[in-house]
Symmetry: C2
Subunit: 287 residues, 2 copies
């Protein structure tokens, strides 16, 4: 059992449409509020060597990234913190506060609990003009497939490349980039937190089209043999770049560093270099 399969159970209860995007969407006057939540905890999400401050930073960053992926500006965040050692709270909250402040959001509340392991649930709210909201759906055959920044760095650190440590420990959500891309009218967007492959399959799920990318175009982490670096970019988790599609006439978009890695196709499958891309990446699993 994996989390994408389990999500279908939730879809059956609350409705499929409520499960497709990185954030839920609420009308908010002339604007739209996007809302998201992420649960992180010690065993799975905080590798050894992270400081409490970095744990707090990461916990904020993952939620800000979800907000950025809708083209919205982060505004408010709440944190529910489950602690086995209360001494960690101050460092965690300071890291979360610094990350939120850096990206323009305020921490407005939360909950504290005693727990078997450090568990942090962030809930973020962002605001965007309705016409600039970007969803996972909206890709059209012929659009370009693009990704911000560099992919595979976080996983590279986990596989021994020490120089990429901060990519994993202090992720920088693409908050400014997401808003620029939204205003420039990109057609679909999400963040790449579980690797490019799973993200493309998630986009497939939300659209009536497929994707064809080229491995030689992937923006790869430095200092790693190319074949390994491609594997990390396609199937590694822990990056918080934005993957998006945009019509050719809108490219290039000024003010955002991104790479065109392929195109949207009518065939509802995912290809890399002409072969079907393996549907594999970071997933929670249960036995």
């Amino acid at each position: 059992m994996d989390d994408r399969t389990l999500l279908k159970t939730v879809m059956g209860i609350i409705g499929r449409d409520r499960c497709l995007d990185d954030c839920a969407i609420i009308p908010f006057g002339d604007q739209v509020m996007v809302v998201t939540t992420d649960m992180l905890h010690a065993t799975t999400d905080f590798p050894g060597g992270m400081t409490d401050w970095q744990i707090g930073w990461m916990s904020a960053a993952v939620t800000l990234s979800d907000i950025a992926s809708m083209g919205a500006a982060p505004r408010f965040v709440l944190f529910a913190v489950g602690l086995d050692r209360w001494e960690q709270l101050a460092g965690v909250m300071q890291g979360a506060y610094d990350c939120c402040t850096r990206y323009g959001a305020a921490i407005i509340g939360g909950d504290i609990d005693r727990h078997c392991e450090l568990t942090i649930v962030s809930m973020g709210m962002g605001i965007v003009e309705a016409q600039y909201l970007v969803k996972r759906s909206g890709a059209r055959a012929g659009d370009l497939v693009c990704v911000t920044g560099t992919c595979g760095q976080a996983q590279a650190f986990l596989e021994g490349y020490a120089r990429h440590k901060l990519a994993l420990f202090e992720p920088q959500p693409r908050v400014a980039e997401g808003q620029v891309l939204g205003r420039m009218g990109v057609s679909a967007m999400m963040d790449v937190s579980d690797g490019i492959a799973l993200s493309l399959y998630d986009l497939c799920e939300a659209n009536d089209c497929g994707f064809s990318i080229e491995s030689r175009k992937l923006p790869l982490p430095a200092g790693i043999p190319e074949v390994q670096a491609q594997e990390l970019a396609l199937h590694g988790g822990g990056d918080y770049e934005l993957i998006f599609t945009c019509s050719r006439d809108r490219h290039p978009i000024a003010g955002v560093q991104y790479t065109v890695i392929g195109e949207v196709i009518a065939d509802r499958r995912v290809f890399v270099d002409g072969h079907v891309l393996e549907k594999r990446g970071y997933q929670h699993t249960w036995v």
Copy 2:
């Protein structure tokens, strides 16, 4: 170390004002959005014998209660669910869905995680006209102190009184009552989830006044010797009644079943029957 002490650490980082109420407050057009989060997990919050459906129901109810305590109407809820056994998800989500539906809220999103024990974090959003918002602050000396329903039932079940099982397993948040009380202009309100004693001390923290209540006036659970029942009402957790203050000229308030248990006093302490009330109730603690 206990959670109310630990909260002071958070106050030092994000600001004291953001930590005083049951919900955070966001301007929302002509209205106000209130937002809250609660973390519950198997070890502490779900006693043996609860069904998955009841666990989901309770997880929704605690957050709807926080929204009710501000006088707001629940609108949207998100759930982050950490699972050790994925088989529990369907029952949990159905219970959460049924509770939200019963009280007028929609589940709009969430997150699924693999976890060491069943952990559910609910985040709720409610809406209220700005003039009807009720906070923990606002109590004035001379106001009446009142509580809805019956107190101590949930704790009574934990101490062996089987007839009170549903009070603990299927709490009914005072959603309609909270909105009536808000519209009728009660001066301060919160929910009583950790017992009347701790609630009165929390209200003390948020106000420049104190409280004097009479034990013989407490609305007590049936079938329990009076002295024990008073102890349960004052110091037991797990009830989701509303405790509020209101000026004498607004009492009685039609449409809400509540009991006057005392009055607001200028002396910034908490008394029961003329003696200082022990500051004791449900708290998370760390060694």
